[in-house]
Symmetry: C4
Subunit: 365 residues, 4 copies
């Protein structure tokens, strides 16, 4: 949920300009002085970024902590190497290539990288198995083609390393075409290698797809779990209780202006607002409830009909808790039932007096 | 469920002919006058389409609405640019290339594009992460190969842009073969880049596959949900009630001539017809019920045995509601139970008098 | 579950030999007479196959049915065209190419093709959407590269058809390398096209993977469903009943020598044997029950403890029906409960007299 | 769960060195004597490995068993062929290629290979179907291109084998570019072949992804199943009972220092520790329980409140059994309930006397 702010936009713009200038500086024809000027300006910007962070951490008395953090070293990696390389006498078009380390700044901007890392770590075992299959097919293909094509094309398949180069370009279906088997046996083997390549690739993709699907499910569970832990009167639950409650909640994605509960109807569940907003249509002024709030708990406590109609004001995700699940749950967590009853009593009285007073952060119908 | 009608077929035929003529006009040898004639005819057809739509909207008093709609601008984009380009003095074989915008008309004909757009939007975060990995691998691979191969093949890897061109053709496993590393280090790096390419591609595919599977499940839920909202006496349900009922319904895909219920047997569920048709075998004339109808509700109301055998007349999808689920549901929606009882009473009497009178849009056994 | 029998093996061997000979006949150097002899022999074999089938169908009085069946025309397609082509004066190396139609015989040997066809049909809409995206990217990429690269490489990108040829080899990541963009703009566009190619391919794979997973689940359900319909005393169930029962059954995959039930223990479910075999350890001789049989129903009828230990004799798949599910089910299908009680009574008496007499096709503990 | 030990690391290091030396020996320029020396050293190492294993098995009196095992023949395959080939007069750079068989040693180190083999075996039928589609498209594409391109490029498409070589490089999207169609018809067919290639590949990937996902679910079930079978007082359960219990258990992944149960609260489930460790905070010294232990069973036996707070000491996976599930289960397995009650009584008394005495391998609550 990390947003790209204004200062970040400037940073990424500088990053893109710097990388383009870095590419340009390697082209003999356009090694103009203003390109090097641009590169120095980018370097100065990143150096200034470090100085600013260091000064801010110094002001808050945490300079030592910042200088010891990985973030500092990560930032320094983008600034220090180029001047060092220039000082060591490297030509500018080589030295500035170290500026390619700037792109690593992108990695910190993408929260999903952690997710991908997690998938790869969880599925490390089957991925490693596929890699071993890849290596075995690669070596055996290289040896066979070396024997089959080596005599005919010594400059392409004459040594095992050359044959392995052919094998890797073929097994990944890259197919440069710089080395191509010409004998019948060599081509038959090559056909099998290509098909094996598709198979290996398919396994690879299948593993990553399954890993991603499992991780997706887990993230969904955690999203619900986190909401549960943010509701105040559920804070006393132990881990098993929170997990149990999370399994009971049913997610409901509603469009704008959907009627969630209707005044006077019998109620059979209470709702937590995961995202979006609802309007409790009480007199004289409707109350709006934001994400994190809950409503409809009277129906679970005393079976009374709904006291007000509740309508979504925008696309809203609710978590519904059925009355039977709620009773099964509170039977084993009696203190929770007591707390909820107290909360409901507190809420019911102000609602009767003045609709506005229930409009707090987690007020409810 | 959008059908391609007769006028659409003509339109797509014109589109295909126009695109072929557009391709032909760029070939020096066959720049015959009749090809340009064909192109003008296609342009006239699309212009006529706009005129027809404008006249129709004028007749219904909505000319202003049409001229302001995206559809008008979309259509105009296919007609206006080519004459403008010709008037501006472009040679015909260049000007007619703007006719390639005609293919965008296809996009409006494919309802699934919205689905794909939705998946890409929902999975934007992990897809962006994979893209950042792609960019980081691309840049680092380009820099390393520039250093490794640049001295030996200056015209292929001598500048960073050239090396990046090699990297993108390799990382996507396209492998043109116009630039191929020749040093041992360069080839080892290239092998790693190819394998990374497979990995990035696998993640990409995994994300899209998971997104598609989730969207598929969601569509299935919505299909059931929509049927529920179309049944008349369920219209008074609030959003939570419809979702609850949707979760209770079990989809049954039956072949042609399957016996759904058998006369005289005890009934344990009622059925909604999602698609297909069933025949209620009552005397003297069987009644046919189409999609949207329901039957078998007597069993849920008074536990009476089935009053008629019901057989499918073609492959049919039913949504079954179990008696226990139904009672649990109507206990919390008592007005619904009352409405259903009234409906059943109304239906039961004409069925006893005359089998025909129950054959309305949502008549039932 | 179609097996490849002995005669099929001969047929496929002839097929492989025929196809190799067909490939050889096109090679100028090895157009030896014995290759043509082999081809004629293969043709004779396939002609003989038709004659044999015709004779068999004639003997069973169904000659007319065979000659009108698609199988006959399919077979004839492999035999008739080559002689016709030779008679029409085509050179042998061209005429025999029509023998490639023989490979279509493989299609009938692979039952999974129907499954794949079904998936493609079910997912036709999203697959068509991806194809339209493919076409739009293809055309626009071709037009842009034609403009960018046409002036510099007129023989590679000078006409739109040439540019489209480049686009299709690039978008599918085939990358022959016969046409390669050389300008900066052309290469930037080409990079985007390659990445789009991976995206389109990922969507394609995701759709097919999802379709396959759904079809897999459906097949699993149908496997259980089919077993239920094969159990004699369940034959009176209507379609909804069979589906309901199928949902109640839990599949259990057991290794060889697993103890399924133990004599004297309380029983809580009955079992149907989906595949494999179990041994009911009764005195004096154990009874073996094969796939399709059921056992353990006494526990469901009168709650008596298990009367014998039952052990699997090989890897076995059982379908277990819990006592609560069974009672819920028979409460709504009372005639089924009566039939089962009668069946159990019939079985219990012979078991007490003589263990052997219960060993029939669907005998049980 | 197989670890790579110290001796294994030496073995894999020798393997890598040997394979590099084997590649080097085929390069004419660097055929130095020390490379052959390295190869002989690697061979000696692998021979020594066999001798060591043989001596160890001889000491334990199982020499005959070892010499007859596949492991021996697998090991011998890496040692015997090279000397035999050298003795037969092959030049060293050919003979040492047989050392590529050493890489097969990697296969035994990757337990996931069995998993992949299982998936391929289970999905053999649809994979074979896709392969048949592949073959049919391959042959027909080859024949058509042979006819379309053969006259113009006889040395590339002049025979069917040459055209098939083009077809296999194109259908797998490898695209060497050594043979490229040049006619309009040939290129249109080639475009269709490339798109078919993507489709075939997508099906292939989809099948493997589905197979992997199913196998993943099965492995998860088996992991829980195996834990259940390792808990001592559950050993008397028959197969159906273990499966039933496995389905009842809910997996909970908890972070370090999560509170599992809180002293004095009502308990609603008992826990088995699948992995990780928990600390039972009893006086005077907390008890640590490792994987395989269980706790919290008092709540299931007599409904007493939790007698101690239990906290995880590291990331821990628990299997929770709800009180209702437990009662339903023990109602049908009364001896199990008796055993658990006896076990709990035994545990409760020492806990009261001395917290330490309950710290055995599977002590609990």
């Amino acid at each position: 949920m990390q947003r790209v702010g204004g200062s970040d936009r400037v940073k990424y713009a500088v990053l893109v300009i710097g990388l383009i200038a870095m590419a340009a500086v390697t082209v003999p024809g356009i090694r103009a002085p203003w390109i090097q000027g641009t590169l120095w300006a980018c370097l100065a910007f990143f150096a200034g970024e470090i100085a600013l962070k260091a000064w801010q951490s110094h002001r808050s008395g945490q300079a030592r902590a910042y200088l010891g953090s990985p973030g500092f070293w990560w930032d320094a990696l983008g600034v220090v190497p180029v001047p060092l390389a220039l000082a060591a006498g490297l030509p500018p078009e080589k030295a500035w290539l170290l500026g390619s380390l700037w792109i690593l700044k992108l990695a910190t901007a993408v929260p999903g990288l952690a997710l991908l890392g997690r998938i790869i770590r969880l599925e490390a075992r089957p991925l490693a198995s596929v890699f071993v299959i890849f290596l075995i097919v690669l070596l055996l293909a290289g040896v066979v083609e070396h024997l089959a094509e080596g005599p005919g094309q010594p400059e392409k398949f004459g040594t095992l390393p050359l044959a392995l180069w052919w094998a890797v370009t073929t097994l990944t279906t890259t197919g440069y075409g710089d080395a191509v088997p010409e004998t019948l046996l060599g081509r038959a083997i090559a056909g099998l290698v290509m098909i094996s390549g598709l198979g290996v690739f398919g396994l690879w993709t299948g593993i990553l797809a399954t890993g991603f699907a499992n991780e997706h499910r887990r993230r969904e569970f955690i999203r619900t779990y986190e909401l549960v832990t943010r509701v105040p009167f559920l804070r006393t639950l132990d881990a098993a209780g929170v997990i149990e409650l999370t399994r009971m909640l049913r997610r409901q994605d509603l469009a704008e202006r959907s009627v969630v509960v209707r005044r006077g109807r019998a109620g059979d569940c209470m709702f937590f607002i995961a995202s979006g907003e609802v309007e409790v249509q009480v007199e004289p002024t409707p109350i709006r409830l934001a994400a994190g709030s809950f409503f409809g708990e009277f129906a679970l406590l005393d079976g009374s009909p709904r006291t007000a109609t509740v309508v979504t004001t925008r696309p809203t995700t609710l978590l519904a808790l059925d009355v039977t699940d709620f009773h099964a749950f509170t039977a084993q967590h009696p203190d929770l039932a007591r707390e909820l009853a107290a909360e409901a009593a507190r809420r019911r009285s102000p609602v009767k007096d003045d609709g506005h007073s229930a409009g707090g952060a987690d007020a409810a119908q």
